[in-house]
């Protein structure tokens, strides 16, 4: 829990001013501390971190404490209301809903994080090259992005999912292949202005090769934007995954998915089996909200204008 301890150092009770570097100290080069101060002053940001920690514990530690069988259904225990034995009841296959929420969350979060990492890495390099080189390369690179952006992701995704049998790896690859566009556009925008800056010129005059200019000087300076965007991407990937699974094109059984749980819950929408509909939707909303909260707070934290309040 290294992450948590960092946040604890800058608890919301402390005023941000005390955390700014003192005047007699030499100014820090990369000022992470004021960024942290702004972040921790954001209640929603801290709430987001808390929620993510809770959801991670729920999905990955929960099944160790709350044992359920999520591989073989039990047809004699179908659609049971919540009770001491099944805290959130059972679904139409006799699976324990609470246990299934935990297990299904694992794949959602794993895929969401992996997609954010892969898509961001690729998008950053693509965008940096496009913005740095400019001209014809930039025009071609950007039209490729426009083309893919014109088609709603879910349509491409359903098409690919009907053509190929979804596995966790295929989902990561395809979702990443459709999610790198935003980071690429953001980074390209920054690279366009960065490439005209003096430190880039200085490096160029000193004979730095192009790939080094991009990797050492352009990319590191876009990291703020990139990190913020990556946070939102985790949320978006989780939402798309859920939608896909709801349509029946997610991971095939016996894998549990949040979208799949809602897709079977919808059959009992008039039977009052609320435990098959509300908890699953709520945990998706909480997860997506949590990552969005963190992203928003990070954006404020990395925005220099807000640090010098």
């Amino acid at each position: 829990m290294a992450v948590q301890s960092v946040w604890e150092q800058t608890a919301p009770g402390r005023t941000p001013a005390t955390l700014l570097p003192k005047e007699d100290e030499p100014p820090a080069k990369l000022s992470l501390r004021p960024a942290l101060a702004v972040f921790s002053a954001s209640r929603t940001g801290l709430l987001g971190v808390g929620l993510v920690v809770f959801i991670l514990l729920f999905c990955f530690v929960g099944p160790l404490l709350y044992h359920t069988n999520q591989l073989a259904g039990n047809l004699s225990n179908v659609n049971l209301a919540p009770s001491a034995h099944h805290l959130l009841g059972t679904d139409s296959q006799g699976f324990d809903v609470l246990g299934r929420l935990m297990v299904a969350g694992q794949s959602s979060i794993e895929i969401g994080l992996a997609v954010a990492a892969v898509a961001t890495s690729f998008g950053v390099i693509y965008g940096a090259i496009s913005g740095f080189l400019g001209g014809v390369v930039d025009a071609v690179f950007m039209r490729i992005i426009d083309t893919i952006l014109s088609i709603p992701t879910i349509f491409l995704f359903i098409y690919l999912a009907t053509a190929f049998k979804p596995t966790i790896w295929l989902l990561i690859i395809v979702l990443s292949a459709l999610s790198w566009l935003n980071p690429a556009r953001l980074v390209r925008g920054e690279a366009l202005s960065l490439r005209r800056r003096e430190f880039v010129d200085a490096a160029r005059v000193m004979g730095s090769p192009k790939h080094k200019l991009v990797l050492r000087h352009i990319v590191p300076n876009t990291l703020g934007t990139v990190i913020v965007n990556a946070t939102f991407q985790v949320a978006d990937a989780i939402l798309i995954l859920a939608t896909l699974a709801f349509f029946g094109f997610g991971l095939p059984p016996p894998a549990a998915t949040w979208g799949g749980m809602l897709s079977s819950g919808i059959n009992y929408i008039y039977d009052g089996y609320w435990w098959e509909i509300y908890p699953t939707g709520a945990i998706i909303v909480l997860t997506v909200l949590a990552f969005n909260f963190i992203g928003d707070a990070l954006r404020d934290a990395l925005d220099v204008r807000l640090q010098v309040r």
Partner: protein, 320 residues
């Protein structure tokens, strides 16, 4: 201005070609063999070859793409072997019905989200702002199908105000004859769009409020009402036009979900049915139509924005 319009038009043409190329590639990365798929596994090699010859599948890939483009220009989108119907007639039947749901939802969403975003920005950090921003945050985080399910439970099952199922008529007249049944599908798309728009609208308005011209307007003693009406609204409206263009994929996705959920026979449901039946021509035809519509929507949005705000067409000489 003229050079901006020309450049933007050229871009749109290039992107449209890109969309056709992408769809063409998608068609050709399918595993298996189209002839086998249609003729069945018992077809002989000769029959397969005859099919390939007949449908031009034995030509070089570049020639196939060219033919595909020529067909497109003639309005030929391919043939659905499952429905034994041309893709064009499937689209002609289903796309207008999707518009009945999506278009009003989009219009109402803009009419609600724009004032909402401005109110949020003006009353920033008050209870009004927190409550409405929180609500749109939650809506944004909600999977649209779950939102639709809740609407069904509350408004159709518990309160009984609206029917559960969307109108099932095949003709547009029959669909419109039952407006009550259109409310919930429309509402689903609308709520998703409001969440999407108001988030941007709020930050656009906050940004506009911080501009010098607002300060000048206040400094010369203009009442708040006039500052908002004359200076803020006009300047904050520009981005909305772009936003509507950019939101098309999101709105269309919400439409797909809504049609599936309420069993509404539009293009979204047709797409889902095609996906389940592995009816690739219909899937690709709908994908292509949506892709082209999005490019056109973005083009129109950019042109409208440029017409309204001269800074757009004269700025960024490098082009974007």
């Amino acid at each position: 201005m003229t050079s901006f319009v020309l450049r933007r038009l050229l871009q749109a043409v290039v992107v449209m070609l890109g969309v056709t190329l992408l769809v063409f590639i998608l068609e050709h990365i399918l595993p298996g063999n189209l002839a086998r798929e249609i003729l069945g596994i018992r077809a002989s090699a000769i029959e397969v070859r005859a099919f390939d010859r007949q449908n031009g599948l034995d030509e070089p890939i570049v020639v196939q793409y060219w033919r595909y483009l020529v067909d497109l220009v003639h309005g030929n989108l391919g043939h659905s072997y499952r429905l034994n119907e041309s893709v064009r007639s499937v689209l002609a039947q289903d796309l207008p019905k999707s518009l009945i749901i999506v278009a009003p939802a989009l219009v109402i969403a803009v009419l609600i989200a724009v004032p909402l975003g401005i109110v949020q920005a003006v009353r920033r950090n008050t209870i009004v702002d927190h409550a409405t921003t929180g609500a749109s945050f939650v809506l944004y985080a909600m999977p649209s199908f779950w939102l639709g399910m809740i609407l069904i439970i509350v408004f159709a099952d518990k309160l009984g105000w609206f029917p559960v199922e969307a109108p099932q008529g095949t003709s547009i007249g029959a669909v419109l004859a039952d407006p009550r049944a259109l409310v919930l599908p429309c509402l689903t798309v609308m709520l998703v769009s409001i969440a999407f728009f108001s988030r941007y609208m709020r930050s656009a308005a906050i940004e506009a409020l911080a501009q010098d011209y607002i300060r000048t307007a206040r400094a010369k003693g203009l009442p708040q009402r006039l500052v908002l009406a004359r200076h803020l609204v006009r300047n904050a409206l520009g981005p909305v036009i772009t936003l509507v263009g950019l939101s098309l994929p999101t709105v269309i996705t919400a439409g797909l979900v809504s049609e599936y959920l309420f069993n509404y026979p539009g293009a979204g449901l047709a797409y889902w049915n095609a996906a389940v039946n592995q009816d690739y021509p219909v899937e690709l035809g709908i994908t292509l139509a949506i892709g082209l519509a999005t490019v056109l929507g973005n083009l129109l949005a950019d042109l409208a924005y440029a017409a309204l705000d001269p800074r757009v067409s004269f700025g960024s000489p490098a082009g974007d």
